[in-house]
């Protein structure tokens, strides 16, 4: 039997606000355990939450970037359950009226993924298991999270991966999260079910929780698809359950009772007033949206003539894209800037973090100046590369490093005399060319280049030689 994979994603993203969602503790990652806590995020008796407006703004930005409608009035709700990492034994979240709703994202294969909702909530603490005991660190407790829920629109593992990478890129572009899966600022749960190809009905779904790496997610979906297919092939029913993925064993297994059929007894949070977002505020935030990655990639390809790969790489890091665009505004051929950045500059920005930070010792203006010399034919490409290396090493401008001779180039008279010299010194090549061998021109060109150490422009020289012959 051929099955179709039907998949939905629930993605949690930690917002990089200055302070936590309900108190003024820092949201910085790491730190000595239980040093970034206060009565509010510890839920001490008598403490009360106060909503961080920046977290609301970041949530709205995420919603706008994903094409969502923004609820003008929503509220927070209590989600009640007991676990050591949750000090109040309830999480303040949003249940029936989320901040954002009904968005959409288009993938590269044309598939539309519908975003059902985005809501704001608080993160729990972290459990650390070591030498037979479990410790709790509440630093993370109260960090703002947005939960993005899609409808079950995914039909392949690749689509799920592409979507998640797009989420990561988009949130980084908006500057609202660093979305590092390894640090937990991006986590995803996957809902998977299978159905016979052609069927419209949804099968029974299982939920794989808390995937914190792209590869693990791919493997988990692949495994779970095989597992469910085997069950259905045997004529049995898939159990609706919550699973975790075991990367070392490359399989899923049911999670223990924490997540079993929990009744969260949701009710509106009485300590917080309604969350209102005015149309003015929505428009103000909409105006703050940067050009988003997909739009930027398309523009790079159409407007600058870059390849898909070049556009993808440059648009992947917002600061790199900004750098690139700053250089491009001062030169004629964007490809020149792309080559410098994707080649020599990227070689020095070894890690993802380095590329995100984009600390390049050469300013966009300095790079534009250098490329300008290439484009005005005062310089050849190898000299440019050599100079750029030195500029990156020393942080100096190109004019400081180049001598007048380097830039002198060849005057028309000099070029003419060099061509004449080449013609005179290579009679066989001349004869070959005159009798129709185009390739012989290259030999003459090579001779000229050798004489001037490559300072002449190849196309110009060729043309001159032709004329003279």
């Amino acid at each position: 039997m051929e099955y179709e994979l039907v998949c939905g994603l629930e993605t949690h993203i930690e917002l990089s606000t200055q302070t936590k969602v309900f108190c003024s503790c820092s949201t910085a990652f790491g730190g000595e355990p239980n040093t970034r806590c206060c009565p509010v995020c510890l839920g001490l008796p008598g403490s009360l939450p106060k909503l961080n407006r920046q977290a609301v703004e970041y949530t709205v930005l995420a919603g706008l970037a994903l094409g969502c409608g923004i609820s003008p009035v929503s509220h927070m709700d209590r989600k009640n359950y007991c676990y050591p990492d949750l000090p109040k034994a309830y999480q303040i979240s949003q249940y029936d009226v989320p901040l954002c709703h009904d968005g959409r994202v288009m993938l590269s294969n044309g598939r539309v993924i519908r975003i059902e909702r985005i809501h704001l909530e608080e993160d729990a603490g972290k459990l650390i298991h070591e030498s037979g005991r479990t410790l709790v660190d509440y630093n993370r407790c109260g960090v703002p999270l947005i939960e993005i829920v899609t409808k079950p629109d995914f039909r392949s593992v690749e689509e799920a991966r592409e979507y998640l990478e797009l989420m990561q890129l988009t949130m980084r572009y908006l500057g609202i999260s660093d979305c590092k899966m390894q640090e937990g600022s991006l986590r995803s749960d996957v809902n998977i079910s299978l159905r016979p190809k052609g069927s419209e009905q949804l099968g029974t779904r299982t939920e794989i929780k808390n995937m914190n790496s792209f590869t693990f997610m791919e493997r988990a979906i692949a495994y779970e698809t095989r597992r469910q297919a085997a069950i259905l092939d045997a004529g049995q029913c898939v159990q609706q359950e919550t699973l975790r993925f075991l990367p070392e064993e490359n399989r899923t297994e049911p999670m223990r009772s924490k997540e079993d059929a929990q009744d969260y007894r949701f009710f509106p949070e009485p300590d917080l007033c309604a969350v209102t977002v005015s149309t003015e505020e929505v428009e103000r935030l909409r105006a703050k949206l940067p050009e988003l990655p997909q739009a930027k990639q398309n523009r790079y390809r159409q407007q600058f003539g870059l390849s898909e790969e070049e556009a993808r790489l440059l648009a992947r890091y917002r600061k790199i894209a900004e750098y690139f665009e700053a250089v491009v505004s001062h030169i004629q051929t964007p490809k020149n800037a792309a080559n410098c950045i994707l080649g020599q500059i990227f070689r020095r920005l070894k890690t993802e973090d380095d590329k995100e930070r984009a600390e390049i010792p050469v300013s966009p203006d300095a790079l534009a100046e250098l490329i300008g010399l290439l484009e005005s034919k005062k310089m050849r490409i190898d000299l440019l590369k050599k100079t750029l290396e030195t500029m990156l090493d020393m942080g100096k401008g190109c004019m400081e490093l180049l001598s007048p001779e380097d830039l002198a180039g060849i005057s028309p008279e000099q070029l003419e005399s060099l061509c004449r010299q080449a013609i005179d010194e290579n009679p066989k090549a001349v004869q070959d060319f005159r009798s129709g061998k185009e390739k012989a021109l290259k030999a003459l060109l090579g001779a000229v280049m050798r004489q001037c150490r490559g300072c002449a422009d190849a196309a110009e020289t060729e043309e001159l030689l032709r004329k003279m012959l």
Binding site: L44, G46, L48, P84, P87, Y90, R265, F267, P270, L272
Partner: protein
């Protein structure tokens, strides 16, 4: 002259020093507390230090009306460095790490904290008898309960251990003990006073309220503690009410709430009738109004209060603080269950279970959501009634008091007596209990006044004027001595 003003004048005119005043009341507390059990913690060391600070402020001329004033706070209010037990085994060893907003305000004015008062456990009760630290006695008549849950504060003020105290009111817990002990107690409009530092019972119903010997003192205390606090999103603050107390009340319209008169005992009926007569002499008309949905008020209250309480008390698991069982547990789940079973008393456990039930899947709609609808209807009906009248008059409780020990026998019967008081909490309206001129069992019977949101001043003003007709009971002996200006203390 009000007691607070009188004491202030004595200190201002150097007739008595803040230290002497604090010693005076500390002595009262030491002497009377064993009998009344109104205080869980007596903060004598810090009180003496605060009295010193107050004396310095008088020296420097930087004093206010509250400088040197000895007060008591209910033990569900946080004061840094002092236990905040909520009269529960669960928090018996819990020491607060920050100050409640209301204490910040009083302390910044130089008030002196004598101690923390006894109460029903986690504010759940109407008799102050569910306390882990033993029941509170009514100083007017020790065969009676002082009422609850702010019974310790009421008993202390009525007994002259302090001139005023703060309590908390979720379903009547300031007004009912005020009525049972014969003092004045106000539940402010919801949001008038910040709940930062009030250990929560039912967040959408809780308010901190002043308990004092006269309306003016209640007004002065309210004026100091009410404020919009950025830490409490539900707080709005309130303007000063004391300046308007002496404005004439002629022309005000009062209406008796018919449904709240049902089941009222004879003394209570008499108290209402007597009040009506006095209101007439003040030029106030009295009519009657019907609020039919009151029939469901007590049920709606218990559903909503218990639901919120079940959530608010979930944090008490013994992991970070609070009671930890001696018996070892095999799992986190068992650990939590043991700690809570041991840490909470029967009434608290009863309400947590009820609250969990009414929120649970399958029951959520028919209980919790329905109760919220009743709440919404009640507020609408009361606000409509308050368009026909400025103030609603009613009993505080169908009975003038409870005998000591009665409430533990039949909790649900007691729930139903909350009918008169819960309406104000459910609707967010201000409500006040003031003594009438009718006495029963050794104490004046209290009557309740309710008004529109943020019209707390109207209540205090009306109560003040009723006092002028002779309803105010004599002050406790310790206070009378100070008021009469006798030099020997």
């Amino acid at each position: 002259m009000s007691v607070i003003r009188r004491l202030h004048s004595l200190m201002q005119n150097r007739k008595i020093s803040p230290q002497e005043l604090t010693e005076y009341f500390l002595k009262m507390v030491q002497e009377e507390n064993p009998r009344l059990n109104s205080c869980i913690t007596i903060a004598d060391k810090t009180a003496r230090k605060q009295a010193e600070e107050a004396a310095q402020r008088f020296e420097q001329g930087s004093y206010t009306l509250f400088t040197g004033l000895p007060v008591l706070l209910k033990d569900n209010l946080c004061v840094q460095g002092l236990p905040a037990t909520c009269a529960s085994r669960m928090l018996a060893d819990f020491v607060a790490v920050y100050d409640a907003a209301v204490w910040e305000q009083l302390y910044s004015d130089g008030a002196v904290l004598l101690g923390k008062t006894n109460m029903d456990e986690f504010a759940m009760g109407s008799s102050s008898e569910t306390s882990f630290f033993g029941p509170v006695r009514n100083p007017r008549n020790e065969t009676l309960s002082p009422g609850g849950s702010s019974g310790g504060s009421a008993a202390a003020v009525a007994g002259g251990l302090a001139v005023c105290a703060l309590g908390s009111d979720t379903g009547g817990s300031v007004r009912q003990p005020a009525a049972f002990c014969g003092i004045t107690g106000l539940k402010p409009t919801y949001g008038a006073v910040s709940r930062w530092g009030l250990i929560a019972y039912a967040s959408s119903l809780d308010q901190i309220g002043p308990m004092a010997l006269c309306a003016e003192d209640a007004a002065l205390l309210l004026g100091r503690i009410s404020a919009k606090d950025s830490r409490d999103d539900t707080s709005r603050g309130l303007g000063q009410t004391a300046p308007l107390l002496r404005e004439p009340v002629t022309g005000k319209r009062v209406a008796i709430v018919r449904e709240m008169m049902e089941g009222a005992s004879l003394p209570v009926q008499k108290a209402i009738e007597d009040t009506v007569q006095r209101l007439h002499t003040l030029g106030i008309s009295v009519t009657e109004v019907s609020v039919p949905v009151l029939r469901y008020a007590a049920s709606a209250y218990y559903i909503i209060a218990c639901a919120e309480a079940s959530s608010n008390l979930s944090r008490y698991d013994g992991l970070r603080y609070g009671h930890r069982s001696e018996s070892p547990a095999a799992s986190f789940h068992e650990f939590v269950c043991r700690n809570r079973q041991e840490g909470f008393g029967e009434e608290v456990r009863r309400r947590i279970l009820m609250g969990t039930y009414v929120l649970s899947a399958g029951h959520h709609e028919q209980y919790y959501q329905k109760a919220r609808k009743v709440q919404s209807l009640l507020r609408r009906e009361l606000l409509a009634a308050l368009e026909q009248a400025d103030i609603l008059l009613s009993p505080v409780c169908p009975a003038p008091d409870f005998p000591a020990g009665k409430t533990l026998a039949d909790p649900v019967a007691v729930y139903q007596t909350d009918l008169c008081t819960v309406a104000a909490n459910l609707s967010g309206l201000p409500a006040l209990s003031t003594p009438s001129a009718t006495w029963e069992n050794g104490h004046p019977v209290g009557i309740q006044l309710m008004a529109r949101p943020f019209a707390d001043g109207d209540l205090l003003q009306t109560a003040y004027w009723l006092e002028t007709t002779g309803t105010r009971p004599p002050y406790p002996e310790s206070v009378r001595v100070l008021m009469d200006g006798k030099e020997e203390f």
